[in-house]
Amino acid sequence: MEPIIQVDNISKVFKTEVKQAALENVSFGLQKSSFTCVVGPSGCGKSTLLRIIAGLMKPSAGKIIINERIKQAMVFQNFALFPWLTVEDNVSFGLKMHDKDEKQSEKIVAEEIEKMGLTGVTDKHPKELSGGMKQRVGIARALTVSPDLLLLDEPFSSLDVFTANKLRRELLSIWQERNLTVLMVSHLVEEAVQLADEVIVFSAAPGKVEMIKKVELPRPRNLRSDAFYKTVDEIQAKITIS
């Protein structure tokens, strides 16, 4: 199968006072409708990689091969909601920027708001919401533009354990229902093994692909099974060694 996106030998050097290599010769492909997690220690360039794929940054070398028509959306670690907008206006932001027909976008926005459980808070501002609710808004905002590729940058790491768990399960069902291709950055190996078809393990400074691990555990995954822990340990060992 042809990959939906191909990362081809990407390197990134930040030109600060001392040159800092963030990524070195990173290559991998994402299959359509796959769920991929990038894990690695902090400072390994995971987020940089996500930003290069999203087109927010240019790589120093290498290229991203991607079909122009692929629609992307992103969910952020610290939510990145627009504080002056209400929940509803945050969710509809992408459609507004793309001049979507008003009636049609109202319908889409109402649907996503209902699906993400935000019905009671549409008139509230981000400041008035809990972390979990904020990230629901973040996810709804991303889904309204009906992306083909959903990029998530440590989306659950500023949430409490219970909220994070609940949202992880919801993300999984969203992915399965909508035929999305998901690329998620995480620093939690357990999270990656719970969610992903494929885990790309990074080593730090500069970020290099240490291992690409296919996770073939059946879904829904049993997070207490030996097979689960075996996979987690295998990945963890790679991270600790490097």
Partner: protein
């Protein structure tokens, strides 16, 4: 409290040489100058701030220049301008008043741009905010708290300046011109009352305009 002070003040003024009609007329004339200059200053400050922060090279070039210019006393421009524009004292005042008001607005907006959250910028870009849509739906709303804060300082400095300017440049109407007239006539009590009324009016503008505006724009200026 406010009402009591106003009534007592009004009664006392009755016994002084202060002509409240002239004072209020002058105030309105000065206020009109302020509104014109402030509008020009605001527009120009927003444009300059967005332009120079969009490009490192431009910023490196202009920021030091503006920093020197902003500490240049506006009154020092008067001798030159009065000669150059001797038939239009109004223009001289508007021009120099604009230059006085612009600096705090400009520098506060530049500060605001520097403090923008990077992930919000990224979110705006990813969700397709470009060109004029980005300006109206992202950049300006995000900068509103800085714009209002700078405006409050600029507005205050503007009033400080215009009183002096109306004394220096010969204009017929203006609160500064009228207070100057009372001063030269040595109507000290009337002058004192005049200053009190002026302060009261400025306080009212603050109370009904700037403070509510500041409250509104800062209420939802952060996510946390």
């Amino acid at each position: 409290m406010f009402a009591v002070v106003t009534i007592i003040l009004a009664l006392l003024i009755n016994f002084s040489a202060l002509d409240t009609g002239k004072l209020l007329g002058g105030f309105l004339a000065s206020l009109s100058r302020m509104i014109i200059s402030y509008s020009i200053a605001l527009t120009v400050a927003v444009i300059i701030a967005l332009l120079i922060t969009s490009n490192k090279w431009l910023e490196g070039l202009f920021l030091p220049v503006f920093d020197v210019l902003q500490s240049f006393p506006s009154f020092a421009l008067f001798p030159v301008l009065v000669v150059a524009l001797k038939n239009s004292p109004e223009l001289v005042i508007i021009f120099v008043l604009t230059i006085t008001i612009i600096w705090p607005i400009l520098f506060t907006i530049i500060g605001g741009v520097k403090n923008q959250r990077e992930d919000l910028e990224e979110a705006a870009t990813i969700f397709g905010a470009k060109g004029s849509k980005r300006l109206w739906h992202f950049t300006l709303p995000q900068l509103l708290p800085s714009i209002v804060t700078g405006s409050i300082v600029g507005w205050g400095e503007g009033w400080e300046f215009i009183i002096g300017a109306e004394l220096l440049v010969r204009v017929n109407y203006g609160v500064g011109a009228y207070l100057g007239f009372l001063g030269t006539r040595q109507e000290n009590i009337a002058l004192a009352f005049g200053i009190m009324v002026l302060l009261l009016l400025l306080y009212v503008i603050n109370k009904i305009l700037w403070i509510p505006l500041l409250y509104t724009v800062t209420k939802f200026s952060s996510e946390g």
